[in-house]
Symmetry: C2
Subunit: 342 residues, 2 copies
């Protein structure tokens, strides 16, 4: 170990990755996009590219098996992987799983997990194309790799947003985060209860968004139907603030988004009120929504509106103007990226 | 959780994967090879295919940070990923890392890991093309995805071995396993010593094979120079017995290998003797050698010999004859696959 010790928390995830990967310039002509996007882009020849994305979900950090049904976890693992492919405006073809399981798992438990995987694969049109299972002494580890394919000219990178582009968002935000908080609350409340009966009435949508989120393949298909190639795109896994700032950083631009245009579901608002918290915080910093954030030229507003299920929440500004949330009273709040999700 | 409980140990890794993935027939025309080989094979058009392999290395199972230098671990992670691509007779192009790190890691420690990654990437001609870092409460988790490329007709699957083919092996076997045992022994012996000075004299090669194994890109290049496409190939990660049985299962064949032809390094034999164990056990069941096992038609014997560094250790037999090790006194020992490495 070297003598100097810099804490990871001093840098945060994004600066850390920048520092660690600074010396890694791509040397192969087939590497169309290296570090710094949702997926690696590899030239496949003939005007096409293959996209490869990889994620790891760790017990105790990304999921809690005391309330996360394994079938849902299998489904969500596929969503997490495929969402990165969709975020490049590409369609998924294959997924691979690399699992670490402890001996406390039964074969039947793993079968439940794979049932969820199979269900998601069918919905998304992706084949399970490999993977391995090894022993783990440190909880359930789910490694997921997703492979997709697209014409080179239709790939949406994080780096293409232009000044005055519209910032668009699918679905609604903050629901997964509130779903997680509901599950955590019931776990706390019922910790010492012999036969726990958690109270989820009225918040089923939030649980679904957290436990079994759908990857937005429909949006990538709609974009193709309308002939739209977003100038930039990212999936909302870390929260709107962090993910928008990734676009700003890669595209060398600023952004202004409007608080009253951020789509938030009724259940999200209701539970936030019940828990005395602000639903906008959930939307901005919650993450795990697996919705898509993308930018399009101003001229495409009509086409985007025709897609349905898409909201324009702001626009791209010049570099170095920063990323701001504009409140209804007209004040500007500077957005901050979150570090590690913990 | 369902009522019936089958222990994972009842099935073993390979039967477990078969059972879990039984219902996953590929539905996309681009999926040339799904579950059951070293890497997924995705049609890239124009007679080419991309190969994607994924692996996870877990602290406490796959490595012990008390004696595994992080720089070597980074190097080995690349070897583990790229070796799966080479095992399909393809060359690596990109790798991606997905890390789970605890807060006990410093930025400098991660930089050491990435230094090893960079070194291996340069040696193997692979670009680092993405990845992420997340928090872990359960030890260091290294997810590695490797991407390669090959002409479709030159890909070597596990399933193509034919009766009478020669079984070939690169390098020597069992060294990594003995290196691990040496490290474990010194850890035990020096557990309560204030300033430990481990004794590794004379066994440096074994440590190198365990801590810093090289992926055999040179062999894939030599095969191409000689115009050889192996009828089947696999990398030796689980041990000769397990890996040969994978070839037999996929190719629906049997095998006979000869004990006195298995290449074992002098240091491997010396340490095995010192530890009162059989070096052949290390070679058969040790694993982590990251050498290549492949089969070629009998007519290619001369070409294979010309490559150098390759030994013919036996031949492929008819289906259902089983896989056997023939000892110098002529007796046959039936090979058994190992389960989880623990």
């Amino acid at each position: 170990m070297p003598n100097k010790r810099t804490e990871i928390s001093e840098l945060g995830e994004f600066a850390l990755i920048d520092r660690l990967t600074a010396d890694f310039a791509p040397s192969n002509a087939t590497t169309l996009c290296g570090v710094g996007d949702d997926a690696a882009v590899v030239d496949a020849g003939g005007g096409e590219a293959l996209l490869v994305a990889t994620d790891t979900m760790l017990e105790g950090i990304d999921f809690d098996l005391t309330y996360f049904p394994l079938k849902h976890l299998g489904y969500k693992a596929v969503t997490v992987g495929v969402s990165d492919i969709l975020a490049m405006n590409a369609l998924p073809g294959q997924i691979m799983l690399s699992l670490g399981v402890s001996s406390k798992f039964s074969v039947e438990a793993l079968e439940e997990f794979y049932e969820g995987v199979r269900f998601a694969c069918r919905e998304l049109g992706a084949d399970l194309a490999g993977g391995d299972i090894s022993a783990s002494v440190t909880g359930f580890v789910v490694g997921i790799t997703a492979v997709g394919r697209a014409k080179k000219e239709s790939i949406a990178y994080r780096s293409g947003a232009q000044q005055n582009d519209l910032i668009c968002i699918t679905g609604n935000l903050g629901a997964a985060y509130m779903g997680l908080h509901l599950l955590e609350r019931e776990k706390r409340v019922l910790k010492d209860v012999a036969e726990p009966e958690p109270q989820f009435g009225g918040y089923e949508y939030l649980l679904e968004k957290y436990l079994r989120p759908c990857a937005r393949k429909d949006i990538v298909e709609s974009l193709a139907e309308e002939g739209i190639v977003p100038t930039s795109m990212i999936d909302l896994s870390d929260g709107l603030a962090s993910d928008l700032m990734q676009i700003c950083k890669s595209s060398k631009c600023g952004a202004r988004i409007y608080l009253d245009r951020i789509p938030i579901a009724k259940q999200t608002t209701a539970l936030a009120e019940e828990m005395h918290t602000d639903p906008v915080i959930a939307a901005l910093n919650g993450g795990e929504d697996y919705e898509l954030l993308f930018t399009v030229p101003l001229a495409m507003q009509e086409k985007v509106m025709r897609m349905g299920g898409v909201d324009v929440i702001g626009h791209v500004t010049a570099e170095n103007t920063g990323a701001y949330l504009v409140t209804p009273d007209g004040s500007d709040i500077r957005l901050k990226a979150q570090g590690f999700k913990e």
